[in-house]
Amino acid sequence: MSFTVGKGQLEEPVELLRIALDERVFVKLKGDRELVGTLHAYDQHLNLIISDAEETLQKAELDEETYEQIVRQERRKLQLVYVRGDTVFLVSPLLRHTGTFL
């Protein structure tokens, strides 16, 4: 299949990452995980290497006493990580955000 057509400088979707190298990116991962960090390397599987990242993990937990479901956010810092591409849902360069970032 080859229906790669684009406008402007982007010919391949993954080229968005080339433009985003050395920039802050937002990454959404499987399992309600999100990362914000600086992108240093990528490949066509969306394997990534990211530094100075903050990871946010949404956890739905069950309160042992009231049996209510609570959504808890866990945050941690990742200095330098390789991120396996198959867990990636989306990558978005933060500098190119035009709208409000909720």
Binding site: F3, K7, G8, P13, G85
Partner: protein, 99 residues
């Protein structure tokens, strides 16, 4: 969320006619994707998350770049993005939305 667009069922390029045997080249899924480049689309992922934005480009793996996009879960706006790259392996469908 999407109401009152029943009349737009036959979009651009869809001409009236009969289909016999092999679908004409203008009717292939690939042709549709080429045609919606630069137009507003809705991309739904396998987990139910929807992204609405302008289709900038895509490749054979269905990796997609959207411009000025917004993320919806269960019809609720979650987040806005400038440019965003969606990984093709999670894409369920790409649909048109009215301009």
């Amino acid at each position: 969320m999407l109401s009152g667009e029943q009349s737009s069922a036959s979009g651009p390029g869809s001409t009236a006619g009969e289909y016999e045997g092999q679908a004409p080249a203008t009717r292939t899924p690939t042709h549709f994707l080429r045609k919606v480049l630069g137009r507003p689309v809705v991309v739904k992922l396998n987990n139910g998350t929807e992204y609405r934005g302008t289709l900038v480009c895509l490749d054979g793996y269905l990796n997609i770049v959207l411009e000025n996009s917004a993320e919806f879960l269960n019809g609720e706006l979650k987040r806005r993005y400038g440019d965003t790259l969606l990984r093709g392996s999670n894409v369920l469908y790409v649909g048109t939305i009215p301009d």
